[in-house]
Every structure is written in structure tokens, then in C-alpha cells.
């Protein structure tokens, strides 16, 4: 990057997920509703692994051309790694999103406890977690089990 040439072109409108820890972009991808993204023809998705970073030495970046993440998705992604920053780009101008750490997460994450009632077959129940931000943990409202923020992407479902 000595010549400061950009690896990919700037985005005119869309979402940039920046400062993802190096080689961890796949975990972020799993938190995106990828089927929804794929269903929209104009969207391009670019993943940059292990790019130079002034702040962190190395980082990953995800660029979503012509797609704005929902605020709910953005908040969930910011829980995964505290270094992540999200910019919404409009008319080539980036606006940094200030994440709103939710108190509860309902329906997005599967409980890691296999014996939790929320994992029972055919029961009409939706998973629900409290966010214990200071401990970087989610706690299942039903079975009390804990889930580390960093493991969120292993338990996401759409």
C-alpha cells in the first residue's frame, strides 16, 4: 500500500464494514442475511482480507455496493467485534453509524444450549437473549446459558 492505491474502488452508495479483525470477515458475513442480499440483482459484495490498517496493522473490510444494512444487522455486527466500524455511504459520502447496543436480541440467534426449550422441535417459541455488554456475553432468557459475542456468528439463523 506504499502508493496508497485503493484495492477496490470507492462506493457511491451502500455500506462499508471496516476494521474487522484480520481474517475474521467470514464471521461477519454469517451475520448478514445473505439470501436477502443475493436476491437483489444490483448488489455487489466485496470482501478484503488482511488489508493494511494504520490503527490495527491488519484488518478485513466488507463493502456492500448498493445495499444498506438494517440498523438491527449493524448493531449485531458491532457486538461481534468491538473494533468494527460501519459507514453508510450516500452520494459517495460516508456517514459513520453509531451502534445502538440492544438490551435484548430476539429471534436472530440460536441458543447454544442444545437442551434449551428454544431448540425443541416444533415448539412455537422464539429465542431471546439479554445482552450483558460489560461481560461481552449474551444470556438466554429461557435457559440462562451464555454465549460469547465472538461466537455469535456460529449461532445466527435466518
Amino acid at each position: 500500500m506504499k502508493n496508497k492505491k485503493l484495492l477496490v474502488s470507492k462506493i457511491d452508495w451502500g455500506t462499508v464494514i471496516d476494521h474487522i479483525p484480520s481474517w475474521q470477515a467470514d464471521k461477519v458475513l454469517k451475520l448478514l442475511d445473505i439470501n436477502k442480499i443475493k436476491s437483489q440483482k444490483d448488489i455487489s459484495l466485496i470482501i478484503l482480507y488482511n488489508c493494511p490498517s494504520k490503527k490495527y496493522n491488519k484488518k478485513d473490510i466488507i463493502k456492500l455496493y448498493h445495499h444498506y444494512l438494517s440498523k438491527e444487522e449493524a448493531d449485531l455486527i458491532c457486538l461481534l467485534f468491538p473494533t468494527i466500524t460501519i459507514n453508510y455511504v450516500k452520494d459517495s459520502n460516508p456517514v459513520k453509524y453509531i451502534p445502538n447496543i440492544p438490551k435484548r436480541i430476539i429471534g436472530k440467534i440460536k441458543c447454544p444450549q442444545i437442551n434449551c426449550i428454544t431448540n425443541a422441535l416444533n415448539e412455537p417459541i422464539t429465542s431471546s437473549f439479554y445482552v450483558l455488554q460489560h461481560l461481552k456475553l449474551l444470556q438466554c432468557e429461557y435457559c440462562d446459558s451464555l454465549l460469547e459475542f465472538e461466537k455469535l456468528s456460529e449461532y445466527v439463523f435466518y
Binding site: N115, I117, I125, Q139, S145, L146
Partner: protein, 311 residues
């Protein structure tokens, strides 16, 4: 104090304050002193005992408690003979039972979180009689009652938990309920069976002092109460792990010779080989009285939840 249990579900031991528990214990004392005082007090009320996991003490004490109170009782004790075996959901089972005009449902279920879910499904009070390896709040109530009766206090006591603290449901519930008091807890278990992180977080938030160790001999001298639990075979996905730890600790007279003379040994029962029968006839043995207290506490709970007098 106004009855704080009327029409209330018993889901988690976290939900009850010291004052509320002592209100319950007052009624349990009354029943213990004069069982006839509350006999048939709940005549005309219907209680369903839905036990979809094996149980002896909890089922029989709830059954006897409900009968003593004059309730009509319907019960399922084995999921293999109910429609659950045909794939019926807990939701459908409970909706069906509620439709029979039941006033209270006592539920034991193998899924963690089942009691909370049940409470969301039906309008009648749910009593959690064991939700997988998560919690067993009425056991914690009777355990606390037993300690109070034997020691005349809870504050200042040092309480040890020994055995399977990870998969057992009684230790989390008793820990939660004890956190209403100024106590110190010692968790004694092999590392892979130590108390779950969520219990530690709860105790940290409540400012309760606790210590984790794997050596009972290191702490036995300090304890006022030793709560022994069975290593539960059915909680182990891998049976070789069970074989490795099942005799990890056993409580016998040799170990108790190191303890305070007035140490109380408790056990939610059934026991296998973790608690020697040679302890049974010593003053250390509190566990049969503990089991008996289950009846008074459960009868008191039913009377308070289904209270017909207080408007």
C-alpha cells in the same frame, strides 16, 4: 405482609426475596406444627402434576401436598405413555391441560427453560418442579427452610456444595436463593463439573463471596453446611466421562472427622455412592429431614398460590 404468592408462578429461585421466603416458611411452620389446620383448605381446586422426567420425591411430595390440601389431582409421570411420545409439543400438552379447568400446573421437564415457556403459554400458575439441569426452585426453598430450622439463621453461614455442580439443577437454585443472605459459598467439584458461569455472574452481581476448589479436605473444616449432590449419569453425553468422575468424592465418617461438630450434611437425594450410609445415624445427617420438609414447603406453596381466602 400480604400473601406474595397468590396466583404467582414459581419459575426461578432468583424471583424471591428474603421477606417472601420467610412468609412462605411461616406457613410451612404452621403446617408442620398442626397439619390439620390447612387440611382440605383447597377443596374444589384442581392441580395437574405433569412430570415428563423421572421423579420420586418431588412428585410424591407434591402429590401428597395437593391431596392434604384437598385438591383434585391429575398426573402424568412418564412421557413415554403420553402423547409427548407421539411428538406432541409441550405447548399443545399444556394448552390441553389448561382447557380441563386446572387451577395450577406443576411441571417437570427435561428442557431447560421449559417452566418459563410454560408460564407464557397458560394463564394458570406454573410451579417449576425441575427444568432440565437449569433449576429446581422448590427444592431450593425446602433446602433453605431446612438450614434455617437447623441453624436458626442463614446469615454468616459457610455453605459448601460438593459433587456435580455443572449438570445438577439444585445447586444453581440454592445458590440463587442463598444470595438473599450474607453467606459464603464453597463450590467443591472436579474442574469439569464446577458451577456454571451464569451462577457465578449472578453471585458477582449480588456481591456474594464464593470460592471454587477441587479439594473437599481443604475447606471441610470451615463449613457449617455441606450440600452433597449425585453425579448424574443421565447428564453425561459421554459415559466414559461419567465413569471417571463418579466416585470422585464421597462423604463418609473419615471425612467428617475433619469437620465442625455441628456441620449439617444435606443431599437432595437420590444418592448413589457419594454419601455413605454410615453417616445416616449421626447428627450430621440432615437429608431425611430435608426430604420431609419438602412436603411442608410444597403444601405451603400450593396453599399460598391457590389461596381462596384473601381477595
Amino acid at each position: 405482609m400480604k400473601n406474595p404468592f397468590k396466583n404467582r408462578s414459581i419459575i426461578s429461585a432468583k424471583d424471591f426475596s428474603r421477606e417472601e421466603l420467610e412468609f412462605l416458611f411461616g406457613v410451612a411452620d404452621d403446617i408442620k406444627e398442626d397439619p390439620s389446620k390447612y387440611r382440605n383448605e383447597l377443596k374444589g381446586k384442581k392441580v395437574a402434576l405433569v412430570f415428563l422426567e423421572p421423579s420420586t420425591r418431588t412428585f410424591s411430595s407434591f402429590f401428597t401436598a395437593a391431596m392434604n390440601a384437598g385438591c383434585d389431582v391429575i398426573s402424568f409421570q412418564d412421557s413415554s405413555v403420553t402423547s409427548i411420545a407421539k411428538g406432541e409439543t409441550l405447548f399443545d400438552t399444556l394448552k390441553m391441560i389448561e382447557g380441563y379447568g386446572i387451577d395450577c400446573i406443576v411441571l417437570r421437564h427435561y428442557y431447560m427453560g421449559s417452566a418459563k415457556f410454560a408460564d407464557e403459554i397458560v394463564d394458570v400458575p406454573i410451579i417449576n418442579a425441575g427444568s432440565g439441569s437449569q433449576e429446581h426452585p422448590t427444592q431450593a426453598m425446602l433446602d433453605l427452610y431446612t438450614i434455617l430450622k437447623k441453624k436458626n439463621k442463614i446469615d454468616g453461614l459457610k455453605i459448601g456444595f460438593l459433587g456435580d455442580l455443572r449438570f445438577g439443577r439444585t445447586c444453581p437454585s440454592l445458590s440463587y436463593i442463598l444470595s438473599n443472605y450474607n453467606i459464603e459459598i464453597f463450590y467443591v467439584a472436579p474442574q469439569n463439573l464446577q458451577i456454571r458461569k451464569e451462577v457465578e455472574i449472578y453471585l458477582d452481581n449480588k456481591g456474594i463471596k464464593y470460592k471454587k476448589t477441587s479439594d473437599i479436605r481443604e475447606v471441610i473444616k470451615e463449613l457449617d453446611v455441606l450440600y452433597v449432590t449425585r453425579i448424574q449419569k443421565e447428564r453425561f453425553p459421554d459415559l466414559t466421562e461419567y465413569e471417571k468422575v463418579k466416585s470422585f468424592y464421597s462423604v463418609d465418617l473419615n471425612l467428617l472427622s475433619l469437620a465442625k461438630k455441628d456441620l449439617g450434611v444435606m443431599h437432595p437425594l437420590p444418592r448413589v455412592d457419594e454419601l455413605s450410609s454410615e453417616v445416616d445415624k449421626t447428627p450430621y445427617a440432615w437429608y431425611f429431614e430435608q426430604a420431609k420438609n419438602g412436603l411442608y414447603i410444597r403444601e405451603a406453596l400450593l396453599n399460598l398460590i391457590l389461596d381462596q381466602n384473601e381477595k
